[in-house]
């Protein structure tokens, strides 16, 4: 840049400022003496009882919340069972027979029944 070169040639980059003697030599030590101790902060940090049990309490509360939600939205399993019992009491003997028949057929009987049915088809 033309203007930049003009400034450089006229004024240059000479530093017109000065510092007290030994300023930079002493600065580091002077500053380091003013820095707060960080290691002490690490050492004195104690974990309180509350901080220790906090995650467990949160986890328990979360678990209880989930359980409560399940009970509210899905319903009480015990009440479902009692409703089923009422229904079963109202069933007739014929319904019982129809309902219990398949459970009496074991695998062998079922296989025999199917074989007989095939022979009948032929």
């Amino acid at each position: 840049m033309k203007e930049e070169n003009k400034i450089l040639s006229k004024v240059g980059t000479k530093n017109p400022f000065k510092v007290p003697d030994g300023y930079f030599t002493d600065f580091t030590q002077e500053l380091m003496s003013k820095l707060p101790e960080k290691e002490m902060q690490f050492a004195t940090q104690e974990v309180t009882l509350w901080q220790r049990v906090k995650p467990w309490i949160y986890m328990t509360a979360m678990f209880c919340g989930i359980m409560l939600s399940v009970r509210i939205f899905v319903g009480n399993p015990k009440s479902m069972e009692s409703a089923q019992l009422v229904e079963m009491e109202n069933m007739s003997d014929e319904d019982w027979e129809n309902l219990s028949t398949p459970s009496l057929i074991d695998d062998y009987s079922l296989y025999q029944f199917l074989t007989d049915a095939e022979e009948y088809d032929d």
């Binding site: 930049e4 400034i7 006229k10 530093n15 007290p20 600065f27 580091t28 500053l31 003013k34 960080k38």
Partner: protein, 186 residues
């Protein structure tokens, strides 16, 4: 640790037992270059010294936030220049002065400053620089005196390279115009 190795120093900063020693190396490495940038902004040695100390104390207190993604110099320059801006704003507010009055006053103070030995042309040059807006002054100082790359200035000031080039160009034009006004043709 005579030879400054940034990677080693940053690794040592992560270890609490070596943190202080590592930080001392950082202070040793960067104090002088930061000082001159601060001094060019605030002009007075005492103010520059205070700001430099504040810069390193802030860096020390927040060293855990330095993750090594940026260069240490970039991080320190950013803190230092922010400290300068805070200082200049405070000074202006406490003296109830406008930006121009405050800067003019700072240059006038140089007359009796024992730590200034510039000639008339350098004094005019400083006045011209002080007439620039603060951020433009920072760009000019970093580019002209430190010959810093625009990429690095961009990281320090968080400004795009294009905007920085434009800012520097305007700064140079203004300084040239200032010299003309003072009947000192470049």
């Amino acid at each position: 640790m005579k030879n400054y190795n940034e990677k080693e120093i940053i690794a040592l900063l992560q270890e609490p037992e070596h943190q202080r020693k590592a930080f001392e190396c950082i202070v040793n490495e960067y104090s002088e270059q930061l000082y001159w940038q601060i001094r060019r902004m605030v002009l007075s040695h005492d103010d520059a010294n205070d700001i430099l100390q504040n810069t390193f104390i802030k860096a020390w207190l927040n060293i855990e936030y330095f993750r090594g993604d940026a260069q240490m110099s970039t991080w320190l320059y950013r803190i230092a220049l922010n400290e300068c801006l805070t200082f200049l704003n405070k000074q202006r507010t406490s003296n109830q002065l406008s930006i121009d009055d405050s800067d003019a006053e700072m240059v006038t103070k140089l007359e009796g400053d024992p730590y200034f030995d510039g000639d008339e042309i350098q004094k005019t040059f400083l006045k011209a620089i002080q007439s620039l807006p603060e951020k433009q002054r920072m760009v000019f100082n970093l580019k002209y005196f430190k010959e810093m790359k625009y990429e690095d200035i961009s990281q320090i000031l968080g400004t795009s390279i294009g905007a920085l080039k434009a800012s520097y160009h305007h700064a140079v034009k203004k300084i040239e115009a200032f010299f003309k006004e003072e009947d000192l043709n470049l």
